[in-house]
Structures are given as C-alpha cells and as structure tokens.
Symmetry: D2
Amino acid sequence: MKTVKVGSVGLGRLGYEHAKNLATQVPGCELAAICDVDANRVKEVAAELGVPNTYTDFEEMCKNPELDAIVIVSPSFLHCQQIEIAMNHGKHVFCEKPLGTDVAQCKAAEKVIEAHPDLIFQLGFMRRFDKSYAEAKRKIDNGDIGKVVLVRSYTQDPRSTIESTLKFAPHSGGQYLDMCVHDIDLIRWFTGSDVKNVWAIGGVFEFDLYKELNDADNAAATIQMENGAMGFMFTNRTHAAGSNVETEIIGTHGTLRIANVGAKNLLNIVDEHGSREEYYPDFMSRWHEAFVAEMVAFTGHVRDNTKPADLTVYDGTAVSEAAYRCKESFETGKMLPIR
Amino acid sequence: MKTVKVGSVGLGRLGYEHAKNLATQVPGCELAAICDVDANRVKEVAAELGVPNTYTDFEEMCKNPELDAIVIVSPSFLHCQQIEIAMNHGKHVFCEKPLGTDVAQCKAAEKVIEAHPDLIFQLGFMRRFDKSYAEAKRKIDNGDIGKVVLVRSYTQDPRSTIESTLKFAPHSGGQYLDMCVHDIDLIRWFTGSDVKNVWAIGGVFEFDLYKELNDADNAAATIQMENGAMGFMFTNRTHAAGSNVETEIIGTHGTLRIANVGAKNLLNIVDEHGSREEYYPDFMSRWHEAFVAEMVAFTGHVRDNTKPADLTVYDGTAVSEAAYRCKESFETGKMLPIR
Amino acid sequence: MKTVKVGSVGLGRLGYEHAKNLATQVPGCELAAICDVDANRVKEVAAELGVPNTYTDFEEMCKNPELDAIVIVSPSFLHCQQIEIAMNHGKHVFCEKPLGTDVAQCKAAEKVIEAHPDLIFQLGFMRRFDKSYAEAKRKIDNGDIGKVVLVRSYTQDPRSTIESTLKFAPHSGGQYLDMCVHDIDLIRWFTGSDVKNVWAIGGVFEFDLYKELNDADNAAATIQMENGAMGFMFTNRTHAAGSNVETEIIGTHGTLRIANVGAKNLLNIVDEHGSREEYYPDFMSRWHEAFVAEMVAFTGHVRDNTKPADLTVYDGTAVSEAAYRCKESFETGKMLPIR
Amino acid sequence: MKTVKVGSVGLGRLGYEHAKNLATQVPGCELAAICDVDANRVKEVAAELGVPNTYTDFEEMCKNPELDAIVIVSPSFLHCQQIEIAMNHGKHVFCEKPLGTDVAQCKAAEKVIEAHPDLIFQLGFMRRFDKSYAEAKRKIDNGDIGKVVLVRSYTQDPRSTIESTLKFAPHSGGQYLDMCVHDIDLIRWFTGSDVKNVWAIGGVFEFDLYKELNDADNAAATIQMENGAMGFMFTNRTHAAGSNVETEIIGTHGTLRIANVGAKNLLNIVDEHGSREEYYPDFMSRWHEAFVAEMVAFTGHVRDNTKPADLTVYDGTAVSEAAYRCKESFETGKMLPIR
C-alpha cells in the first residue's frame, strides 16, 4: 500500500484531532508536515506525533515536494485562499467545513477547483462517514423507505460546555452557519434535492450574550426542497444531556432514525433515575470514528486517484447559501426563497 | 356517588366508542339516551348497551328532563348548532373536536357558552387525558425542563387503513383541520402561548386523490408562538407501522418525549427483523383509555359542578384559527401571521 | 347485562384495591358486601364505596343469599378454609395468591373445589391479565417464536419502600413464596410444562434482617421443566428504580420481552442523567389495570357460567410446590427434584 | 513510537481478522511474519497485507530474531505448546481463547509463563476491550451500582449461519467450551470472585446433530460464586436476529445492561415490522473494534514492558475449569462444585 504523505494546517481542537488521526489511525498515511501560526504549538504536536516537517507559513508547507495532500483545519476565513495556494502547488486538498465564510468565497473556490481537474478535493462533512448515517443512506438509495418526505435533524450542544461556547460565539458565524451546515448537508444528501425556500425562527431563551450578537441560543429552520421534500432543523446551546445529534428520515414506506436515544455506547443504566442511556459528552467523542473514516476515504482517493462521487465543492457552496438564507430569514422574520 | 345521566349524539365510529365507554367504563355515569339520524343504528346500539331512551331528533333528546349532560359526536358541521340547542335546554355539553368548521362558527359557539355561565362545556382534546401527556404537562408546570423552547408533534395514520381514509378524505377538511388540530392544541398547551406565525408545506407523495383535493398526503407546519417558543407538526397518511402520534417538548433544561418508539404495549419482539416494538394498529386503540378518562373528567365536572380549568371553548377557537391559517399557508405558499 | 353481586373479604392494601375496583371499575358488578376483622375499616370503606352489607365474620357474609361470588384477599393462611366455607354456601370464589401456605393446604383446597364442580374458582395470577403478557401468550400459542426454550422472569421491589418491606418480611414466607410465585406461574404458563428440578441460590447483600430469617434480599432460582425448557427467576428487595417486573421468553425462532425498560408510561425524559424512562413506583400502580381485568374476567365467568380455561386450582398447587422446593433448595444448597 | 514487530500464527477466519488488524489498524505495530500450515493461504495473505516473512513451521517463525511478539490464533489444541515454544524463544505472547483444551494443559501453560516472568502474556478475552464492557467495569469499580449481585450473560449465534456452525460443531468442544467461556470470564471479572458451584441444563430444541454430540443447541448454566454473587449464562445456535451478546450486571444500587437491544449501529428503523433496531450479522462484525483494541493494548504492553493488570493466565485456567464443570453438569444432570 503506497504511503500517502499529508501536511495539515491548523492545530486548534479539531486540527489536533485530525493531525493525531492522520498520524496514528489512518493506515498507509504519514503525517509528514504540520503548520500553525503558533510556533510553540507546532513544536509540541510535532514532538508528540513524530512529525518530521514543521511550518508556521502555509505556503512554505505547500512547497514541500514530498507532500501529496493538504488537510485544512485553519480558521474559516482562510479556507478558500488556502485551497487556492495548495492546489496551485499541485496538492490534493481536504478542507474542513465551512467551505467559505460567504457565498462569494465559495464561488471563487469552485473556480479554483475547476481549474485543477486532476486534483482531488474533499469537504469535511464527516457525518456522512459515520456508520449509521452511511447505512441510512444505503437503505434510502435501496428504496427501503420509499420516497423521502421529511428529514429532521437536530444539533444540540451540551450546557456543560457553555462557557467555552459563549467565548467562541462572537466568531462562530451564528447558529445557522456554525451548527446547521451539517444538518443542511444531510437534508440535501438524503432528499437528493436542493433548497428552495427557508423560514428560520428561534430566540434567546437563556444566554443574553446571543441577543447582543443578534443570534439565538435555540433556533430552528424549516426548509422546502425543490422536489417537494421537507427539512426541519433544530439547534441549541442548552442541551441538558451531553452532545446530541439526531436525524430522522421519513419516507413514504418507512422511517429511519439515527441516535434518537442517548448513544454514547451500548450501555443501559438502571438506577434511581430510571432506565437510561448516556449521551456523548461532546461532539469530538461522538464523531471520532467518522473523523478517522473521512481521512481514510480521503487518503484512499489520493492513493487511487479517484474522486469522491457525491461530496463536491458545489455541495459546500449550496450548503453555505442555504445557511446564509436561514440567517437572513431569522434576522428579518421572513420566509425566503433560496435566491 | 350521584349518578350523572348522559345523552350522546352520533353513533359513527368514534360516537360508538364514546357511547360504549359512557355505558360501561365510566363509574357513576348512566348512558340514558342516544341519538342518531340512522334509526336502525340507534336501535342496535340501544339494545347492546341497554340504553333506555332513543332518538333520531337531537332537540327531542335535549328536551328529556332526566338528562344532565349531552355528548356531541355528530358530524363537525353540526357541532356549534347542537351546542346551542343543548345549552338552551340547560344541558352541560361535551363536544368532540373540531369545535366548528370555520372560525365564525367557533366565535358563535363562544357567545352561546358565555351566555350560559352556569353550564359546563368541555372540548374533546383527549390527548390531554392520556397518562403520558398528562405527566409531561405536570413535569413542565413543575419546571423540570426549564422554559419550553420547541414542541414537535407528529400525527401519522397507518397505510394499512388507507382505503377508508381516502373515502373520508373529501369530507375531512384536509390534513390541517382533520389531523393537526390535536397537535396545535398540544403546542399551545405545552408552550402556554398563542400562535403568531405559521408556514405550512407538504405535498402529494403517493396518493393522487389528494392533488384533486388541493391537499397533501404528507404535510408539515412550523409555528412561531407569541412568546417566542416554536412548534413543528408533521402529519401523513402513509405511516408504515400502524398509528403513530408522538410528541417532543424541548426545554432549556431537559426534553420530554412521548411515544417516540412503538407504543402498543410493553412487549419487545426479537426476530428476523431485529429488536422491535409494535405500534397501535389505529388511533382508536391508541386513545381508548384517554377517551374514557376524558368522560370520567367530564362527568366528574358535571357531578361536582366544577369547570375544566384550562380546556375552554377559546382553546377550540384558537386551534381552529391556527389550523385554517396553516391550510391557507399551504395553499398559497406564504408564511402567514395568525391574523 | 346481569349484575354480578360480590362480597370481598380482606381490606388490607391489596384488599382495598380489589374492593375499589369491584365497586367502580368493573361494569356489571356490584360490590354488595365487604368483610374484615377490623370493624372500623369495614365501616370506612363501606362509606367510601357505598357498600350496603358489612361484616366482621366471614361465614356470616357467605350466608347472604344475595351474593353470587366471594373475593378472598385475606391473610394467606386463611385462604383454603375460606374457599371451603364460601363454596359450602354455594358461592363462586376468586382467591388471591398464594393458594395456601403449604402444599397440604393446596391439596385440601383441590378436594373442596372438585367437590363443587358447578362453582367457578379463579386464582389471582393477575399478570396473565396484563395486556402485554396476554399478547405474549397469544404470540407463543400462535407459534410466532417457535418452541419455548427459556423463560426469564424478574420481580424486583423498590429500595424506596424497604422499610415497609422489612416490617412485613417475617410474615411474608420468604422471597420464593412471596415474590417468585408469579414468576413460577409465568414459566409454567409460557412453557406449557411442569417443573422437574430446581436450584435456588442467593444471599443477603444489604439488609441483615434477612439473615435472621434464613432468607435472602437477592435471590435466584433456575428451573428445569419436564419438557426440557428452562426457567430463570431473579427477585430482590433492592431495586434502585421503582418496581420492576420483566419477563423474557426465548424461543427457537424469536424472543419476546416484556417491560425490559422502564415502563411507567410512554414518556422518555432527556436530562442531565441521559435519555431515560421511569419505572412504576410500586407494584400496585404497575398492575392496576391487570387487577381490574382479572375481576372483569371473573365476574364475566360468573355471569356466563363458564370456567377459566387454563387457570385452575391445580396451577396454584403446582406453583406452591415449586416455590417450596426453591425455598428448600436455597436453604440446603442442593439442586432438588420437584418431588 | 517504537515499532513492535509481531508474528502471527493461524490464518483461519479469526486469524485473518487479527492479521489484518495488526497490519493495518494498530499504530506502531508491524505484522512482520505470518505462519499457517496452508502454504497457499500464507502466500495469499502475505501478498495482500505486505508481510515480509512467511512460515509454515511455527518454531521457525519463533526463531526470527526481529520479532518482538507472537500472536497465537491456531487451533485450540496447539495453544499451550505454542505458548511454550514462543516463550522459549523469548517472545511475548498473545493467545486466543481458550487457553487449552483441558485443565491439565492450562496448568502446564501456567508453569511456562511463570518460568518467563520477563515476558508478557495476554489472553484473547476481547469483550473486556469493548467500549461498553470497559465502561461497565469502570462504573462497577467506581461503586456506581453497589455490590454486584447477579451477572447475566447471553451469547447467541444467528440461525442464518447455522450451516457453517453445524459443520464446525463436532470440533467445537460444545456450547460451554466454545461459547460460554467469554461469559464465564465476564462473570468472574464483574463479580471479582471465583466460581464455587455450577448447574448446567439445556437440550436440543431443533438441530438433531447436537444430540449425537451429547451437546445442546440451547443451553444455560447457573453459577454460584465464592462471594455469594450469582451468574446466569444462556447460549444458543438459533437466534433469529443476527448475533446477540448481551450482559446485565445487577448490583445492590443499580443495574447495567450492555446491548440489550439490537446493537448494530445507532439506526432505528420504523416500517411495517414496528420500530426496530438491527443486530450485528455475526460475531466478527460485533467485535471488530474490540479485536483491534486488544491488539493495541497488547502491543502497548510489549512496547512499554508492562503487564496486563488483571487478565492473566490464571484467568484462562479458571474459566476453562468452570466451562468443563458446566459441561460435566450438563452431561450428568447434577449440580457440581467447581472442584
């Protein structure tokens, strides 16, 4: 098995997760380089994971001829320009969500990727790589539940981590861009259709900071798809029981539900609180295996020179467009067409 | 315990259920009279249940001085005028949903009821009398889940009964009036607030008859409440697994879910289909105990001369208004304010 | 519907439940008499439930010619002699479990009942009247799970009521007679076979009183049936989460599980403890509907002059024999044949 | 991270799983050698996984000075002698269950391992490395459920694979040795105690071949532990719904249940069969991650020169002793002390 050499940029919380996975969990992959503006952090992680090449300048890393591919886990506003730099140096690119911080950036990224048809590009919609979500998709494609009528998807963050969430809130882009993009991606993926109209509502039920930000701590959006299917998303920052992402797909002949009870493991606990299942404490532990699986898939594409069939830059743009429209709908109180 | 004597009008499917419950399941109640336009049916049911007085004319029944109360389970368009007749004869009234077939009728019924402050009036929102729904309400009122943020409520009819459903469809008033009124009632009850804006979407995914009726076989509505809480309803005619009514109440400190798995009984079956729970085959078996409980409550109010604290004619009007607005939103494609 | 007139003896906790059910929940039944050694309690309950005839002497009640049937909910040691008295006065009899306090008593009761072939006798194994248990039996009889291989049945009492449990413990007969008789009945019923060998183990894990009583606070028994099927029972006094009775029937083609999660109602609660279901707080609330259903069945048999097809005095004897053998096995440490 | 070089013997179904995991899923591990009597299979697997050294003679492989450790997945009767050969060549050893095919072999293996105190030995009780089982153990050790009273553990094989199971049956050692050893290990691990008495029952309910083998297709065993705790095991070859391993630990203050519903993934399916969860199709897919985790642990011990704290050769002997006693109990019909 040919070794795929990867350079990764960004060593924040998720950046470190990806770096560690690339270094230790992805067969046939070598984490050959890391980059971050924080030189100390680079040194620290390089020592821990045995990474031979370290950078504080992204373009310098891209010049390294050893590297086959670049993994981008930097702040969102850098994504599009780093895609361009990496591709201009002939590197395959994996980019974390969101593709860009506005639709114009996404459109520009499309142009860059179209200009490099020989290079592989994969977006970080890791939920698709979760075993349960992947099996749901297979069952849908197999016709097990008939036509898809409604996709309901929740992304709920635990109250227990609210302090760090509030600290991050002013730079998060708000609920729809930060949290709902994954749900929008799932709704598009499972319905096989594009967003037509959105109406987004919600409010501040507990944490006043969100009022100052013109944002919500509990928010929802209803989506009408081009093909008539429906989507409903709900997201909040006040979930009592750990991290909860659950999705339901109602079809004309059956319904699929993913993680509609606590899903930390197969353990059921009976005690004075009743019969109960615990939730994952945070999104990182929930999605660890999916994060690994998407990197296995990405390095596999690089090795075999194949492209992700249905996870393209256009999905990134479409999701961003819908998220922005939700934000606008929330802010104006209006039901809005996608364009 | 003083015996409460009841006369019941309407001996259709639900009318018969109520008559039988009144005759055999409600302690301290005597089903003293029944009325239906179908004289044979009246005779048949009277014989089976041992009912002494039978009528084909509603007003005649109301003139019977023995009767304390009237239970109305006739076709919807008769509800409001029968309320008036019964009250004018001094009878307490229980009326099945919907209160009226349009908002004007509901307003007229309000006037009638206001004109008889000494008489008890109770509406047939039986879900509130289901043990699980009642306990959810207690927990909410007790503050167990903090502020109510979102109420999601599904009413799904089984595919297996689609033939009779289709036959009834042209006279049903459509999904929002026929199915969603219970969900709207629950959203108002659990949020403690009134409807502000609605957006209703959906479509015909399988049964073309609904296209002719300008109706949907799968429909949803998103509701924004006056206090900022949110509601989401979904209803369909194509549920693969029996009758499914499930409701979720998300609060700032916890979530309550009612019947989010098959709920027919406590039986779990493991076979070649996996580990599974069955659903109730139809709504009648699902709500049998609630139908009894609401009659126990109603006859108790009559006996004790008390009024249902929070289930008034105004709830009936408000729910009807919202259901009509959902219908209009669905038909026009617009998000609409309640008035 | 002919009214069945019943006299009930014993007004303890369960006796009161039965009396109230007979008076208010059983259509076509009149609680025409009650009897208890405590004259004040008799007066109190008669007033509450409107019972016309009151007694402190059991035989006096049986002499009342109005009465069709007697319900026996007195202390266990009186059961067999009261069956005899009632039947000698020509009354149909419902008797709570256990049939007798030793096997000799049970055998004597058999003789009495055989001597009155015209009278109906029904034993208080109310679990068979629970909807979920009844449906399990139907599915088994229908062949849905093939041959029955193993029946596992748990009867767990809540810690929260331990004080009253300990007070009652010296007079309870011990775990096997007090708790397991219902499980033994279920194992015989579901396997359709008789007990062949038993081995009972257990111990005192928390409440030292049970040591003094040569009893256990956590006990199990494994049973081999004549037809080769297996039974496993577990019972304890330390269940953290309310009252728990659960039963599993493993067949060669499928498995049925009754109440293997918290079963108080259809409510699922998500809070800081995870996703959870609550248990019934005590056995009385768990079995309320089954207690009513067994009285509906009994009075129906009396009215229609039919006999319970498969719930006879011999079941009572067989269950008692097995329970005594479990007790002996526990005390001696030996695996024992039934006789 | 120092690379640990491993040689693996046995390329049957489980042997291949281990080889593939060692080659591709265990960071810091190199599968440097494989051995099997089937030279073609060795060549085939070596090509697929890129293994540099291949053998058909086990001792030859052990002579390879490059290898740090040997993984034994050969037929059971070879385990003990291969442990000796490997250790005599200075290799650390991982050995699949069972330790030996009789207790004498296990005792001999103990002597070998005691003679090499510097070498690491780990047994293949992979269930302990499953996330859910590991968390159950942590909660028990943490006192979350008080004293452990009863461990119930089921190992059920799917009917769908019965043909290959029947083929393997004559050489399997029977239900207790082949299936229950994992359950016995769990009972000892969770109760923290040794087996005192066993009673094993069961029979042939469907597949007559087991009669010829003096074995059962459905079998159970009840175990009394030295400390008074109890164990109940059930195993069969006729499970309708895929592979099912579930375990329940009842303590004085709480109960833990692992996989008591279908556990293939987080997907719940609602269709005409009700609301359901699917099971893993076979044990290999159920335990894949645990198989990887035990190898990560083993190679970690080799790298760090530490010993598995509580998974020693003596556990292997104790489990084998108990399994043999269960077999003898089943064959003689007697309850038996462990020795």
